[in-house]
């Protein structure tokens, strides 16, 4: 999602309490292209396991849906808060949450209920935001309130929030008897100062993995961490298929040359066209890295060259799987996925040439497959990774 030309990357990493098959924390995020708004919610259900998961799912989807209807986030947060059931025995509410809304001008509003405080990291420093305490009337619960924060997001800002699985990790250990609350700040600063460009995806993963280490790899609670990062968009161009009209071969290769960002070519024929137009040679990697796919090739000025249809289909397959544990990290599809993950704005340039001279009946089919696979990849990238994706045909 882009705000004022900047890109907002949202990612969340979750790990379950050890021995549980579901996570009791629920994270949801949605971007509304038309309005330029991004809403993200993290909710932690009381306890763990299925019950916690149901509770937190209800809470976060209600919050998201209310906010979607353009209700003020404070109103939506307090209505949800009023309806949350409370635990009979412990007399506390069933779930806690953090709701964050960023509008098209970069204005941020965060509503927190009983969760560890969010962090705002700006220029390597944690910024303290004054929070407004808004009481919410509830007969059965005393002293219920929301904390509301408002500020303007600046370029390179990171907002970080997590469930108490992170802040309470390591509790009771000698070096952090009260958990990781303060130590986490040092850890985050250290990581960000070492790699100032670290993506939201990687940072959230690093934090969760560290929390897991604090618990000696036996997580005592469901652990989630969400990072929202505003930065200059990273552009990626993926070209696949030769242009409909041969006259456009030159246009294609100039387009690739002039593109600001990283470039991928999927398809041997397409790569050959570019090689011919630019006079640069292609060399094919001798060490094949994935038995299912033809190997990658190399050419100056292009970041990755893979085979076309088989590779794209595999990318689509991996993207649509829930969890993917890759066996060969350096396979062509995995390399392509990594570049996709690392980019914000992705443009697919799909060539539509059918070679009539050859009268090959399979070619129009291949063209259809190519188009469909690219469309599917686009919708997966948009819904799962919240990427900004365009397809153009040439």
């Amino acid at each position: 999602m882009r705000v004022n030309g900047d890109f907002i990357e949202v990612d969340c990493c979750q790990k379950n309490k050890v021995g549980h098959i579901v996570c009791g924390d629920t994270f949801m995020s949605q971007k509304f292209k038309e309005e330029g708004r991004v809403i993200s919610v993290l909710s932690d259900g009381l306890g763990s396991g299925i019950k916690a998961s149901v509770l937190s799912t209800i809470t976060s989807s209600m919050l998201l849906n209310f906010s979607l209807l353009n209700e003020d986030i404070m109103d939506s947060a307090s209505s949800v808060l009023k309806t949350l059931p409370q635990d009979e025995i412990r007399k506390i509410s069933y779930s806690t949450f953090c709701l964050c809304e960023i509008d098209c001008f970069g204005k941020v509003r965060i509503a927190e209920y009983e969760t560890p405080s969010f962090y705002l990291l700006r220029n390597g420093e944690f910024v303290n935001i004054q929070k407004k305490k808004i009481p919410v009337e509830r007969e059965d619960l005393d002293n219920t309130h929301l904390l509301i924060s408002e500020f303007k997001m600046q370029k390179e800002d990171r907002i970080i929030f997590f469930s108490d699985g992170v802040s309470q990790s390591g509790m009771g250990n000698l070096n952090m008897p009260f958990g990781w609350e303060e130590g986490s700040k040092d850890y985050i600063s250290m990581i960000v100062s070492k790699s100032p460009d670290i993506s939201a995806k990687d940072l959230s993963r690093r934090i969760v993995i560290k929390a897991e280490q604090n618990d000696y790899s036996v997580l005592k609670d469901d652990t989630s961490c969400c990072v929202i990062y505003m930065r200059k968009p990273r552009n990626l161009l993926v070209c696949t298929g030769p242009p409909y009209d041969e006259k456009n071969d030159g246009y294609l290769s100039n387009y690739i040359r002039d593109f600001q960002g990283r470039k991928i070519v999927c398809g041997g024929t397409t790569a050959q066209i570019i090689s011919r137009e630019t006079g640069r040679s292609i060399s094919t990697d001798i060490s094949p890295s994935d038995r299912e796919l033809p190997p990658i090739s190399k050419m100056d000025g292009v970041d990755l060259i893979t085979e076309g249809i088989l590779t794209l289909s595999k990318v689509e397959r991996i993207l649509s799987e829930e969890e993917y544990e890759s066996k060969n990290k350096d396979g062509p599809a995995e390399k392509l996925l990594r570049l996709l993950a690392d980019s914000d704005k992705i443009t697919f340039l799909v060539g539509t040439r059918i070679n009539i001279a050859h009268q090959d009946p399979t070619l129009p089919i291949e063209l259809e497959i190519r188009r469909n696979v690219v469309k599917k990849i686009k919708s997966l990238l948009e819904s799962k990774w919240l990427k900004d994706v365009d397809i153009s045909y040439i």
Partner: protein, 85 residues
């Protein structure tokens, strides 16, 4: 002793029609034979859409179509013994 050059097409069509397996054949060959073959891979050689039969390979620049696991062995044997002569 001269090396022979072997180029295997890894374009989509050749790959699907059996090119993928040719790679496996090479892994089975003993080292001293492999030392005498310089293997390279190429993107689609542009022959697959014609009436020909993929997968295609080139041995010392000569194009051969319809290569299978078993006849690749044969082709390599012949090329190697030609090179000795």
């Amino acid at each position: 002793m001269e090396k022979i050059s072997l180029k295997i097409c890894t374009g989509t069509m050749c790959y699907v029609m059996g090119g993928a397996e040719l790679r496996a054949v090479l892994e089975l060959l003993p080292d001293d034979i492999m030392k005498r073959i310089s293997v390279s891979y190429s993107p689609c050689m542009g022959l697959c859409s014609d009436v020909g039969e993929p997968p295609y390979i080139q041995v010392n620049g000569k194009t051969i179509s319809g290569v299978s696991k078993s006849n690749l062995m044969q082709i390599l044997k012949e090329a190697l013994s030609d090179a000795v002569r």
